[in-house]
């Protein structure tokens, strides 16, 4: 079997919106999906209305629709980021214990989370920078990280100072151990797991260039 990385060196890195679109493309029809607060919410813009994909929000709803505008705004109907949203036909409401039972019981097909750091083995750090003056806040991140059938992370591959956020071992406090299945970044898509990181696709960079930038065990992906 030949393993090849799809190298897109004829273009630059993906924009945030393009990463979101790339993630959306891989979500199967009819999947139940939770999009974490922040960047992952962009993925919703790329899910076609005929995809049959149903969005879950941790604060007790399946069938969440887009952000509410104008008269649609209802303070009793928000997403996990406390932003008013609308309800789609076929929605259902439930309380918090039921919502997290759904998440922790492995019923969501996919969740998409942001991250400070991800390790090649799939450890996730996305709730706390560890800075001594930071006020810790975890929300539902740890529950999502261990609960969904597939945990996907969306982030830029490099921090603002150029250091990679895909690492051998997370230096920030962990959200979950070995929980990330796939990592979508501006420069590459990775499959993560006990065997380390496999690169399936690159954008604006070759596999070899990418490998040189990262200090993790890397291999070409399927």
């Amino acid at each position: 079997m030949t393993v090849t990385v799809r190298e897109h060196t004829d273009r630059g890195p993906l924009s945030r919106d393009e990463i979101a679109a790339r993630i959306a493309r891989d979500i199967p029809r009819g999947a139940y999906v939770n999009l974490g607060i922040g960047q992952p919410t962009l993925v919703a813009d790329h899910l076609g209305p005929d995809s049959g994909i149903v969005l879950h929000t941790e604060n007790g709803m399946l069938g969440m629709g887009p952000v509410a505008v104008g008269d649609q705004v209802d303070p009793d109907l928000t997403n996990a980021g406390k932003i008013p949203v609308v309800e789609l036909p076929g929605a259902a409401y439930f309380h918090h214990a039921d919502s997290f039972a759904m998440m922790r019981g492995g019923h969501l097909d996919v969740c998409v989370l942001g991250a400070f750091q991800v390790s090649a083995g799939g450890d996730l750090a996305n709730w706390h920078t560890g800075a001594p003056d930071a006020i810790p806040a975890v929300g539902g991140a740890m529950d999502l990280a261990i609960g969904a059938k597939q945990v996907v992370v969306m982030m830029t591959l490099l921090a603002k100072d150029g250091t990679p956020k895909l690492v051998r071992d997370c230096t920030y406090p962990l959200t979950g151990v070995g929980c990330v299945d796939r990592l979508y970044t501006d420069l590459a898509v990775f499959e993560l797991g006990p065997g380390g990181a496999a690169v399936t696709e690159t954008f604006g960079i070759s596999y070899d260039e990418l490998a040189a930038r990262l200090d993790v065990p890397l291999r070409p992906g399927a």
Partner: protein, 226 residues
Amino acid sequence: MTTVHDSVDEAVAGIEDGSTVLVGGFGMAGMPVDLIDALIRQGATDLTVVSNNAGNGDTGLAALLAEGRVRKMVCSFPRQADSWVFDGLYRAGRIELEVVPQGNLAERMRAAGAGIGAFFCPTGVGTPLAEGKETREIDGRTYVLEYPLRADVALVKAHVADRMGNLVYRKTARNFGPVMATAATTTIVQVQQVVEPGGLDPEAVVTPGIYVDRVAVVPDRSGATS
């Protein structure tokens, strides 16, 4: 994703020999009789069935038992006035029985659906049903450690579904349906009616569609014969 099926036979296709099958109902209320009839026709055998009772009269679960298709019953209350099919099999040594307190039955399935690994439970402490189980004193009270009860298939009767699999039930026929739907790999539901998305009040949905794999419409029998 929930699929809506034209027949109960299509809905129960693929259930394998040796499966653990959750069967809803408390007595006949909420018992998915048509799905069980389809399972009888479908042929899967050597089943472990989890249900509150062990069959009533000669229909539904009792009929499946009479066919010799159930290796083991897990239930809280097998012995009833009309449980003659089970009673006969049990006395003949032709079926295994695990008696579980009703609250443990429900909570263990709830734990399976909720990702709980095990839980310390106040029921049954010091009784034969807790014998050999781990116990622990917490805040001055003794608890028994109970484990999740997972299954391959759940057969549930609800009242109305929408095409996304959201369910509402009727009165005390709700009973075990909602919790069984969360505890099985494949949840198969019979309903009297399927409506379009938006046809159910989102505030009143009891089982969200995420827990429902297959829905089959079975018109009300009393309606069909009158």
